[in-house]
Symmetry: C2
Subunit: 245 residues, 2 copies
DNA sequence: GCAATAGTGTCTTTTAGACAGTATCCA
DNA sequence: TGGATACTGTCTAAAAGACACTATTGC
């Protein structure tokens, strides 16, 4: 093809404007728990294409300011929730020539888990964004293939909850084991045995005691409070949970 | 920003050439088993940048011909191995402003597993590609961040082998349980108990008997032969294997 | 018979499921 | 005392680890 003698010479003559590739965006499925429901943050698009429809927070990479894909995702998360470094991880990438009317486009999908409380105040200042129960997504007019993206993130969430302690990230700390079990149940969309749950979590030594609290309704025995121990995010159970094989 | 009245009008005036995003490529880490070693397919780059260095098969999306990212990956796989539809799945995407000297670039990484035999003949016609034992990758002059990509794919391979029957994809069919166990051990880089292995695989009912064969060395008791049953790729074990917790 | 490979019996250990039981709070 | 919530005891079941054992072949 070309006949440059060195990489330096090649790069000197390389002009990235001659490259025309697909559109690239980063989208973030941000989940939280509120009012005993799993909710996802959606923004109503103010511009074409898909103006007026609901979409995941996301957009193009800022090639000047974003050091990497994770930085783009983190920026999007902070823009909409005000929250910084909770759980934020890549789910997958999706690209084809049909998902965006502007042409071949690729999105890198991230998912985030945040406790609801710290976002509440900030969210009031973000007029175009709101939390929707995930079950309602089917009913909404969704932009692009974002309904499918949410499902992909939702699946990952469900799967990972079965062998990690991912749900600690949607609770404000400290929390009780009952609250944690509720979080697990909502993320996995299934009921769990109380005894099995507590045995599993406590035996793994991934929580630290942090006092005790009176029960939510005011009535009942006070519950022990916990915070995640250092490194608990990395704990992998050898066996998945909640399968009545 | 703009003031188009309808999506059709917006699209009519949209010119994708005004968009300047990151370079996007798809790279495929293709693994096989040969001579009792896990090997990865690398090609020696003939062009700048990184001319002369070893790289994963990959390149830009053909926006005219590739329907989606998977199609691009599949094309790359077929170009280099002649093999079509074995195991091919997305691992992750990696993007930053440092991995390619041409500027901000994103790669979508796939991994593939193929039996060695069907690739052998085709590979002779592909002069710039060869199988390298994965342990040797550290010693090679690798292009871009491809050493890191290989490690990411390798990690995924190891993890998934612990709760699926992924390794069936690197064996030519039919195979014996001993061959399958060897494949598991090479992909997981650990030793497995024979009895536990056989119990796990056979109880899961994911293999079908397919006659028997005389042992490889000519000596010894003949072994039962198996092929994967339909749907076996989707089988998920509830417990990871090979952990002496 | 021996070497080599294939395959089994069986005991222990770990951890989840089931579910009834006890503990501690408020009114 | 009773209702509500938190927490435990304990039996069973499933599946992995360990490892010695038997089975079938070629020489």
């Amino acid at each position: 093809m070309s006949s440059w003698q060195s990489e330096a010479e090649f790069l000197e003559h390389y002009d990235s404007r001659h490259y025309s590739g697909p559109l690239v965006s980063v989208d973030v499925a941000i989940f939280t728990l509120h009012e005993a429901q799993l909710k996802v943050l959606l923004v109503q698009r103010g511009e074409f294409p898909c103006k007026g429809r609901w979409a995941l927070p996301g957009g193009f990479i800022n090639m000047g300011g974003d050091a990497d894909l994770y930085a783009t995702a983190r920026r999007k998360l902070k823009d909409k929730t005000g929250v910084d470094a909770p759980l934020l991880e890549q789910v997958c990438s999706l690209g084809n020539d049909a998902r965006d009317p502007r042409g071949w486009s690729v999105t890198v999908l991230y998912m985030a888990l945040v406790p609801w409380a710290p976002t509440a105040e900030f969210m009031e200042s973000v007029t175009d964004a709101r939390w929707w129960p995930v079950q309602w997504v089917d009913e909404l007019a969704m932009a692009f293939d974002h309904a499918a993206l949410i499902e992909a993130a939702r699946d990952r969430l469900k799967n990972k909850t079965a062998y990690t302690v991912l749900p600690v990230h949607v609770l404000k700390r400290p929390f009780t084991l009952t609250q944690l079990q509720n979080a697990f149940e909502l993320l996995m969309d299934t009921q769990l045995e109380k005894k099995s749950f507590r045995r599993r979590i406590l035996n793994a030594k991934i929580l630290e005691e942090a006092g005790e609290a009176s029960p939510e309704g005011g009535r009942g025995r006070p519950a022990a409070l916990y915070v995640p121990a250092r490194g608990s995010e990395k704990h992998l159970f050898a066996r998945v949970f909640g399968e009545t094989a």
